[in-house]
């Protein structure tokens, strides 16, 4: 089903950790349409600023849930939504993870809020009998929200915190590197983490799909505000003339947000 504007209603709002919100929404058509790795643009009630890009964290029955950090005025406004409030969501948007192969052994690396993009692919892979190992890192224990849902979904969960307050001390990529290579790597998190994942993928020759983030303008491909350099030969490169170095700028919102590590030229 094509993306469209969904007029939805908030069912519940919960602060899962200081500054980390989970908003549960009644949105049957959206829930039915979503593909793992897709996102929505959540429209602000005040109408004074651009909509906010948020991963579709979970989707089941007629429910969709969003999991987000309060990082600025727009997410603060979304965090003020209460049960019963209406909320317009544009979506589902973007190309999700390519899960056609579903190899036997998949590793997923999630850093911080990146966790919001990987529940749906994890669940889909488990359903299709992949072994799924989740490597989940955050600054400290309190921010490791939602690990139970992954256990319930059938993932093997390894935790890492920068301050050592839970799981391994260090970056989630340290944990990933210390483990046996999988057949496929999925990752979502801050850019430095994704760069590290891409290096691990290259070194271990495991294909990696990275879910990127950037500050979005439109979220639908209309403004070219969210690009990332890719090889002009990549299937996701816009069919535009590339520069002398063979680089094109692809839109994260339209050609992504998921890219193969090897096509990126960042």
């Amino acid at each position: 089903m094509p993306a469209r504007v969904h007029d939805t209603r908030v069912i519940a709002r919960e602060e899962r950790a200081p500054g980390v919100m989970m908003v549960t929404i009644q949105a049957p058509a959206l829930s039915a349409a979503v593909f793992p790795g897709q996102f929505v643009m959540a429209e602000l009630p005040s109408g004074c600023a651009a909509a906010v890009a948020l991963a579709i964290y979970d989707a089941y029955d007629d429910i969709v849930s969003l999991l987000f950090f309060i990082t600025g005025p727009r997410t603060r406004e979304l965090a003020a939504l209460a049960a019963g409030d209406s909320l317009a969501l544009l979506g589902p948007l973007g190309n999700g993870f390519d899960l056609r192969d579903a190899p036997a052994d998949v590793a997923i690396a999630a850093g911080g809020v990146g966790i919001a993009s990987v529940l749906l692919p994890a669940r889909e892979l488990v359903r299709r009998r992949s072994r799924v190992r989740l490597f989940y890192g955050a600054r400290s224990a309190a921010l490791l929200v939602e690990r139970e849902r992954f256990v319930q979904a059938g993932c093997e969960v390894t935790l890492a915190t920068e301050d050592g307050s839970e799981g391994l001390r260090g970056y989630v990529t340290d944990a990933l590197e210390a483990s046996a290579p999988a057949k496929l790597l999925l990752a979502c998190g801050p850019t430095p983490m994704l760069r590290a994942v891409a290096q691990i993928a290259t070194r271990t020759r495991v294909p990696a799909q990275l879910c990127l983030e950037e500050t979005f303008g439109c979220g639908v491909g209309g403004c070219w505000g969210c690009v990332v350099p890719v090889a002009a030969t990549s299937p996701r490169a816009p069919r535009f003339p590339s520069n002398e170095a063979g680089i094109s700028y692809a839109r994260i919102c339209r050609e992504g947000p998921v890219f193969m590590a090897e096509e990126l030229r960042w």
């Binding site: 909509a51 303008g217 403004c223 969210c226 520069n243």
Partner: protein, 324 residues
């Protein structure tokens, strides 16, 4: 109460040079792609025109990331005119525009008068293009950091040259980053513009205080959205007093009431850019709202309210409000 029929009878059409738009709403250049990107969320048959992303003679990769920063009631952008260049554009992109159910306006940017002329001519030749908008608020390599639209002689030159290159309607898009917009507006009019688009973005920047460096890859960018609306309304109000050609008012329009401010200030049509990022249903809501509002006032066409609040200025002593 206003009946649906009354609202339907209101004439919202507007004329820009020889071009008639069914609705007075134009999607701002650079904000609406080529229309295809938004066609899933908005009914293109219910908008007046799409102004395409600006095209240059040569392909441009655009600025480094980040290209967008959100600010209070607005956003900064520094895309840097990423576009495939006119050759590729004509060969691969333009054909797709034929089926759009609204007018299509090509936007031209350049770094010299020659570039403007070439791109204007080649774009305007194509039947898919109904009019040309000159984005003269973009970098002019000849004089450091200045833009054509910041210099009245340069504006005059580039508009005259583009005028000679096409008979299709010619819109000149003005920058607000000038001491007196009426000077540039008059130059553009006498050089042959059929309409003025007022305003492009306002120059601004933001700094990442944690990393102590500019947030935008390009350092400076253009501010758009509701934050700049008061600046844009004044620019339209002043330009409308200075010229006789129609003005397409834009800058922060997100609601019916915002749109009315621009018409009342003297705009014949409006541009909607950033509000599409807030909610792609805004343009349709505005058109519906306009029809209903005008019907409620017993007006038969949008032209009846154009400039109705433009009563001039108090007196010279009190002109500059920022004297505070």
């Amino acid at each position: 109460m206003v009946s649906a029929e009354d609202a339907r009878d209101v004439d919202l059409s507007v004329r820009i040079g020889g071009l008639r738009l069914r609705y007075p709403t134009m999607m701002g250049s650079g904000c609406y792609g080529s229309g295809e990107e938004f066609a899933r969320f908005a009914d293109l048959a219910r908008i007046g025109a799409i102004v395409l992303k600006s095209v240059t003679r040569l392909p441009r990769l655009g600025n480094p990331m980040p290209r967008i920063v959100h600010t209070p009631s607005g956003m900064l952008n520094a895309i840097g005119l990423q576009n495939p260049g006119i050759d590729w554009y004509l060969e691969h992109e333009i054909g797709k525009l034929a089926e759009r159910p609204c007018a299509i306006i090509g936007s031209v940017a350049g770094f010299s008068v020659g570039e403007y002329v070439e791109v204007t001519q080649r774009l305007a030749e194509r039947p898919e293009i109904d009019a040309i908008e000159l984005n003269v608020s973009c970098p002019n390599v000849a004089s450091e950091g200045e833009t054509f639209a910041c210099d009245s002689r340069a504006t005059s030159e580039v508009v005259s040259a583009a005028r000679a290159a096409t008979r299709k309607p010619l819109i000149v898009k003005l920058s607000p980053n000038v001491t007196d917009i009426t000077v540039i507006a008059r130059e553009a009019e006498s050089a042959g513009a059929d309409a003025l688009a007022v305003i492009n973005t306002v120059r601004g920047m933001a700094i990442d205080v944690e990393r102590a460096r500019p947030r935008l890859g390009n350092v400076a960018g253009g501010l758009s959205g509701p934050a700049i609306r008061p600046i844009a309304v004044l620019a339209v109000y002043e330009a409308a007093r200075a010229v006789r050609i129609p003005i397409i008012g834009q800058g922060g329009i997100a609601s019916l009431s915002d749109a009315l401010e621009f018409f009342l200030a003297g705009a014949s049509a409006i541009g909607i850019g950033t509000a599409n990022f807030t909610d792609p249903r805004v343009p349709e809501r505005i058109v519906d709202g306009l029809a209903e509002h005008l019907a409620g006032q017993g007006a038969r066409s949008i032209s009846e309210i154009v400039g109705r609040a433009n009563v001039g200025f108090a007196d010279v002593h009190q002109y500059e409000g920022d004297a505070g």
